[in-house]
């Protein structure tokens, strides 16, 4: 099955059985493709005594810990075909994942992302406010996850401005002029959760005290990147929604879950505050003790599968995030597929042991 065929299917239209069939067929194909074209991946499968022909369901496929992309240069294409290398966000000195993209995989990522996001914003493009600074996308050959996120979502923007300058200060006058110019129109806002809180929300609160109010009631905000820092400030998701609404009237707010290792397949938060898996990807919650599949309501480690990656063996990965499956095919928002929530990152020590020892074996 080609990706062209898959991407033409409506993102939340398949029931559990239909989706399992589609994912199994495509992910088995990808496993074979990477086994043939990536020696390190083939070695990993061999060391696991894995036989792809015995696979009944995509749930039987092995998963690589995301850390392996920090340890090894995993790719299934010749060096000359790499057009872009994406890196995960990491603090200085920390190893980052390197994800190698060719034309095809890169374009499929963008197509998929557009299909998913359009289900929430409509396919029309809107004036866009990027709640970040322009310097993030300056280095074009090596995209950070942050730059890639901004660029990927930029396709929904007709006219765009960056709300922050390179010192992360709010461009008050520009923002004011932009909102006046597009008054009455739907405005698309995009940014990363913590930056929005720290450099946008807090500044709007300060300005409001001075009598300067921005009206974003026509806005739709998509944000991602994790809650870790806000949790440490004791800001819950409900607080985030409520307080943004209070300060600027913004009501349509969607979080998303995604990672640079599987760009394109993002998990969008619906109107019922649930993260949703589209037909292009899935989450499987794994019991940390024996990696068996957890049932609804049980907390475990999140495995993600994606039908996109052809240039690198990242179609089945074990994340370092912990989450809970809330249900499947029956979210009140009407979308099919699994819906879930993220509890946060695993404690470093718990996963480092098994991931590092695992990676070391294949050097």
């Amino acid at each position: 099955m080609t990706y062209e065929e898959i991407v033409s299917i409506s993102p939340y239209s398949l029931s559990k059985a239909e989706k399992e069939k589609l994912l199994t067929e495509r992910l088995v194909e990808l496993t074979k493709l990477h086994q043939e074209n990536c020696a390190e991946y083939a070695n990993i499968l061999e060391s696991l005594d894995f036989d792809v022909d015995k696979v009944q369901s995509y749930k039987d496929l092995p998963f690589l810990p995301v850390r392996m992309f920090k340890e090894l240069e995993l790719k299934s294409i010749p060096k000359e075909e790499v057009i872009k290398t994406m890196t995960s966000s990491g603090t200085t000195g920390q190893a980052v994942s390197k994800i190698y993209l060719d034309k095809n995989t890169s374009s499929n990522q963008q197509k998929t992302m557009v299909k998913i996001v359009s289900e929430f914003t409509g396919s029309g493009r809107m004036p866009m406010i990027i709640i970040d600074c322009p310097s993030v996308i300056k280095n074009r050959a090596m995209f950070s996850a942050r730059g890639a996120g901004i660029l990927g979502f930029s396709i929904f923007g007709s006219k765009k401005i960056y709300a922050l300058d390179d010192d992360m200060k709010l461009n008050i006058e520009e923002l004011k002029a932009f909102l006046e110019k597009y008054q009455g129109q739907r405005i698309f806002l995009f940014g990363f959760t913590f930056m929005i809180w720290q450099h946008f929300y807090k500044e709007l609160v300060r300005l409001k005290e001075e009598g300067i109010v921005f009206d974003l009631s026509q806005g739709v905000l998509i944000h991602g990147g994790g809650w870790k820092k806000l949790v440490s400030e004791a800001v819950s998701e409900e607080d985030f929604h409520q307080r943004l609404k209070d300060v600027c009237g913004l009501e349509s707010i969607h979080d998303y879950y995604g990672m640079v290792e599987q760009t394109g397949c993002i998990y969008m938060e619906c109107e019922c505050s649930h993260l949703h898996a589209s037909i292009f990807s899935d989450v499987i919650i794994r019991n940390p003790k024996d990696f068996s599949e957890c049932g609804i309501g049980e907390t475990g480690i999140i495995q993600v599968v994606s039908t996109i990656p052809e240039s690198y063996p990242g179609h089945s990965l074990l994340t370092e995030d912990e989450g809970v499956l809330l249900g499947e095919d029956d979210c009140p928002c009407g979308r099919m597929g699994k819906y879930f929530k993220i509890n946060g990152r695993l404690k470093n020590a718990e996963i480092r042991g098994c991931s590092d020892t695992y990676a070391d074996k294949f050097k």
């Binding site: 057009i83 872009k84 034309k103 890169s106 374009s107 963008q110 197509k111 557009v114 359009s118 396919s123 493009r125 996308i137 074009r140 050959a141 660029l151 990927g152 930029s154 396709i155 929904f156 007709s158």
Partner: protein, 80 residues
């Protein structure tokens, strides 16, 4: 300026290239036409022809020649 001149100029300005590089030019052929450069090109074309392109067409816009086909569609009506 004719439509062709405007179309060419958008490429030349966005990617800092010369007219003789245009024929056969494809997305990702040159470093300037990467995903960031692509959005810059789209903005330049939208300004030049006063149109707003659909997300699908932005994704399909994979070469100098393909772009002409897309702009000629009824949605935009820009014959080049």
């Amino acid at each position: 300026m004719t439509n062709l001149e405007k179309y060419n100029q958008a490429f030349i300005d966005s990617f800092e290239i010369t007219e003789d590089q245009l024929a056969g030019l494809k997305y990702q052929d040159i470093p300037a036409w990467d995903s960031a450069g692509h959005m810059g090109l789209i903005s330049a074309l939208e300004d030049a022809f006063d149109i707003m392109m659909d997300t699908d067409d932005i994704i399909d816009f994979s070469s100098y020649e393909k772009g002409k086909e897309i702009l000629a569609k009824d949605d935009y009506g820009v014959a080049i």
